[in-house]
């Protein structure tokens, strides 16, 4: 568990303070190498976005970071501890909401917070994502898709994690709901009273630029590795029609296209 420290400057890059340190050398599925060398640090209150094409191993990367997949060469450090199994300090929001349908919203949140040393109450968790605590007694089938996503975020944050991993969690929402949730995410990650670092994987360039303090571009080649690191220093709030915003999107797009042109076609398909 990382002790509460002073509110971090967003683009501060002193690795000694990093909340998560990733040193992956290789990850294979059988004989197929999926991830190559992937090395980066995440600072407290920093939003890192990993940008890569579909099927390049993004989900696999998050599973490795969460401690769900331990068959890889390398080391993940959470503060001073090596990540060898899932822990309440690292929360993961899956691509699907994955609320347990037989538990009420309240029990779903408690289910997640049980392992944490200082969990938030289900009420506080819901309020922090802008939901009415009245839905605590609801079953997941009773709430809308957008609300379910918020509950899933509340669940992820309920254990007061120091790292939040996000697997394109809002991809199927409409634009307004999606950006509403993104603002909420940015607020949670940059909140001075919770030194949480976030890593989100996505293939959407505009989302990446909107959210990130730092973008890691994954190569589309197999095995995937980081082809470039792009610090995003645009002021917040960011506007998607802002000239600098669009300029950065375009240069990332060009990088992605040149990356995909150099890509060797691969028939092996894995999740991600």
């Amino acid at each position: 568990m990382v002790s509460p420290i002073r509110p971090a400057m967003r683009n501060d890059v002193s690795s000694a303070r990093s909340v998560l340190s990733v040193r992956i050398q290789e990850k294979r599925f059988g004989v197929v190498p999926v991830l190559g060398s992937i090395t980066f640090e995440v600072e407290p209150n920093q939003f890192v976005v990993v940008l890569g094409p579909s099927g390049c191993g993004k989900t696999t990367l998050l599973r490795v970071l969460a401690g769900l997949d331990r068959e890889f060469v390398g080391r993940i450090m959470l503060g001073l501890n090596s990540v060898i199994r899932p822990s309440s300090s690292i929360a993961l929001m899956f691509q699907d909401v994955r609320l347990l349908p037989w538990m009420t919203v309240e029990r779903n949140i408690k289910f997640a917070a049980a392992a944490s040393e200082n969990p938030k109450s289900p009420q506080d968790s819901l309020v922090s994502v802008g939901l009415d605590p009245a839905i605590l007694s609801y079953y997941p089938r009773k709430i809308s898709g957008g609300m379910a996503k918020r509950v899933a975020l509340a669940r992820a944050l309920a254990g007061n994690p120091s790292v939040l991993l996000l697997d394109e969690p809002f991809s199927e929402l409409d634009t307004a709901s999606k950006y509403g949730l993104y603002d909420l995410l940015i607020e949670s990650v940059h909140s001075p009273d919770a030194p949480v670092g976030a890593i989100m994987v996505t293939h959407d360039i505009s989302e990446a630029v909107y959210l990130a303090d730092k973008i890691l571009v994954l190569s589309g080649k197999r095995p995937a590795s980081i082809s470039s690191v792009v610090p995003v220093e645009l002021p917040r709030p960011r506007y998607r029609d802002d000239a600098d915003f669009l300029k950065l999107c375009t240069s990332l797009m060009i990088a992605a296209i040149s990356e995909s042109e150099s890509q060797t076609p691969s028939k092996v398909d894995t999740a991600g």
Partner: protein, 213 residues
């Protein structure tokens, strides 16, 4: 009608019903407990599974009724009745519980692992509730079978219980009492099935209801 009234007033019906239900309750509870525990053990302890699974896979196809003589030797008449009901119920619950556990969605298991749940917690909080509908279905089937086994055993070897009441009425050529007892047995069976069905609906209220194809 008159026979039914007579049986009720005399207290015979109530007495025999209580005896039968006691036997059913005891045998079926034992069977449910054994079946669910065995399946859980197989799922949780692979080494135990290596022993239990082939044994039960081999024993399950033997019709339950074929066990009667062996059970009588081991447990006596009354014990054999309980063993018979427990075996019938247990085998059904064992098979269904194991299927339900093995069918647990990997996504849910991943979620549970992420939140540091143990295997026992995964079994109790994920596998069993996610298969609750199927498990209750198995319970209904098992109780239906138990009811049949109980009545059969009471018809053949007993001096009390509803099965015996029917048989005794036949011995005294009281067709009216026999019919009344049969109707009562049917009513009770129906009532129990509805009771479990309603528990099934209540316990799985979280499911989206099926609206028909």
């Amino acid at each position: 009608m008159a026979a039914g009234y007579r049986l009720t007033v005399s207290g015979d019906l109530l007495r025999h019903t209580a005896v039968s239900l006691g036997r059913l309750g005891f045998g079926a509870s034992l069977g449910v407990l054994a079946g669910v525990s065995a399946a859980s053990l197989v799922a949780l302890v692979p080494r135990a599974g290596l022993m239990i699974r082939p044994l039960l896979d081999f024993l399950a196809p033997i019709p339950v009724l074929a066990w009667i003589p062996l059970f009588i030797i081991f447990f006596g008449i009354d014990g054999a009745r309980t063993a018979l009901i427990a075996t019938g119920t247990g085998l059904i619950l064992y098979g269904t519980t194991l299927t339900v556990i093995l069918d647990t969605r990997a996504e849910y298991v991943d979620l549970a692992l992420l939140y540091e749940k143990t295997r026992v917690q995964i079994l109790i909080e994920i596998s069993l509730p996610s298969g609750a509908w199927t498990l209750f279905g198995a319970l209904r089937t098992a109780l239906g079978l138990s009811w049949v086994l109980l009545l059969a055993s009471e018809l053949i070897a007993s001096s009390s219980g509803l099965g015996w009441l029917i048989w005794d009425s036949r011995n005294f050529s009281r067709a009216d009492e026999m019919m009344a007892a049969m109707i009562w047995v049917g009513t009770l069976g129906f009532f129990f099935d509805r009771l479990i069905a309603s528990a099934q609906n209540r316990a799985t209220a979280w499911r989206p209801t099926f609206q028909g194809i």
